[in-house]
Amino acid sequence: MDTSELKQQVEGLLFAADEPVTLERLSEVLEVDKREIEPLLWELADDYRNQKRGFSLEKVAQGVQLRSLPEHAEAIRRLQGARPFRFSRAALETLAIIAYRQPVTRAEIEYLRGVDSGGVLKTLLDKRLLRILGKKDLPGRPLLYGTSRGFLEFFGLENLSELPSLREFSDVQGETIFLDGMGPHDAP
């Protein structure tokens, strides 16, 4: 198989894949060394950019995936007759807490948020953005929650280290903390 054929086949696989594909997987399926495939991935990514194709190749969840371009989102929605997906603030807060503190129990989440979070957890589990990591070694053996692969795919992250960094407040004394950057609910 010459390089252009291999590239075509790699593209064919990416095109037909229904989830992010790892380099290992491509190498296994095509029975071709990873080192031969990797440069082709970056060639493809460049092609899409340079030739102004209608999609791009992105690194997601330890793999690569063809994704539509953000500037086409609205037209795609019109085509599909769909509404844009929106998270509630409760869902985002809960996801953020879990993403940064995993493994974490429901009680810990509720302590941090100050409100019951059972309903939100259920929704996030059903959307497969969370998974159960095990049980905590505490009385009652509460479940431990973490984010799933679906979470990475949803936000287009390669891994958890790509999360926005948390603003750290080492100690309270003398820190001016949150007078700026408040959320959207400040207005009366």
Binding site: V115, D126, F155, L163, L166
Partner: protein, 254 residues
């Protein structure tokens, strides 16, 4: 307070407190607790006087604030004896507010990331029929995946009201024929296409029985492109002499 506050605009008492602190233009290290507590209680009272429900969490926080306020009024000597084995509730509240603020900001930033179904769409490749017929292999699977599988299943069939099923024998036949009609002229149908937005439990059961019959009779195939993915119905090729419509007798439901 001079301005209107709606509790349902807030994610909870911590969110409301952060709002008040910001409103008073103070910093977390120097919360004028007496003032903030008074404002907080005032909002709750207004809500209650309007006969609006105040969620329990807001009331719990009110109690905490009153507790802190009363402790602050105690002479400091008594305070010291408590400090040995007890966390200062004021300190604890400040810590919670700091932590909450941190995650609230992170959540807002996370929300700016491109998201599936909002900025980004994926291809939905049609599945190749052959790929999914293999026997499942045993490979690493966590115990909790097992429980989640069951949970998903129970979510789909919430109550064990199986007695409702018994009188549906005619509907199974009807359902089979409806499914076949819908399948006519299309390559495949997704399982969810068979149901209305909110199907009744008996509808679901009847449809499942119908699918079971159709699968048994080798009229359709049920395939899934990925684990836990959507299940789709595919027509099998009809051979000569096979029935294309079903009546009760041919199904043994007489």
């Amino acid at each position: 307070m001079g301005y209107e506050i709606r509790l349902d605009n807030f994610e909870g008492p911590l969110d409301l407190l952060l709002h008040l602190i910001k409103k008073n233009e103070v910093d977390l290290a120097e919360i004028p607790l007496v003032e903030i507590t008074d404002q907080y209680l005032e909002i709750l009272e207004t809500m209650q006087s309007l006969n609006l429900d105040v969620a329990g969490e807001f009331l719990v926080m009110a109690a905490t604030l009153i507790h802190i306020k009363s402790r602050m009024l105690l002479p400091p000597s008594e305070d010291e004896t408590l400090e040995e084995d007890e966390i200062d509730p004021r300190e604890e509240l400040v810590q919670r507010l700091i932590e909450y603020q941190k995650y609230k900001e992170a959540a807002a930033e996370l929300d700016t990331y491109p998201q599936l179904g909002r900025e980004v769409y994926l291809r939905h490749p049609p599945l190749l029929e052959e790929g999914s017929d293999d026997d499942p292999e045993l490979e690493a699977v966590g115990l909790f995946e097992l429980v989640e599988a069951l949970r998903g299943l129970l979510k789909e069939h919430p109550e064990p009201a199986f007695h409702e099923v018994t009188l549906e024998r005619l509907s199974v036949v009807d359902r089979i024929n409806t499914i076949l009609q819908r399948l006519e002229g299309s390559d495949s149908l997704s399982l969810s296409d068979l149901f209305d937005a909110a199907p009744s439990r008996s509808e679901v059961v009847v449809s499942l029985l119908a699918l079971l019959e159709l699968t048994k009779l080798r009229v359709i195939r049920l395939l899934q492109s990925r684990r836990c993915g959507e299940i789709r119905l595919y027509p099998r090729e009809v051979e000569e002499g096979e029935p294309t419509a079903f009546d009760e007798e041919s199904l043994g439901y007489q």
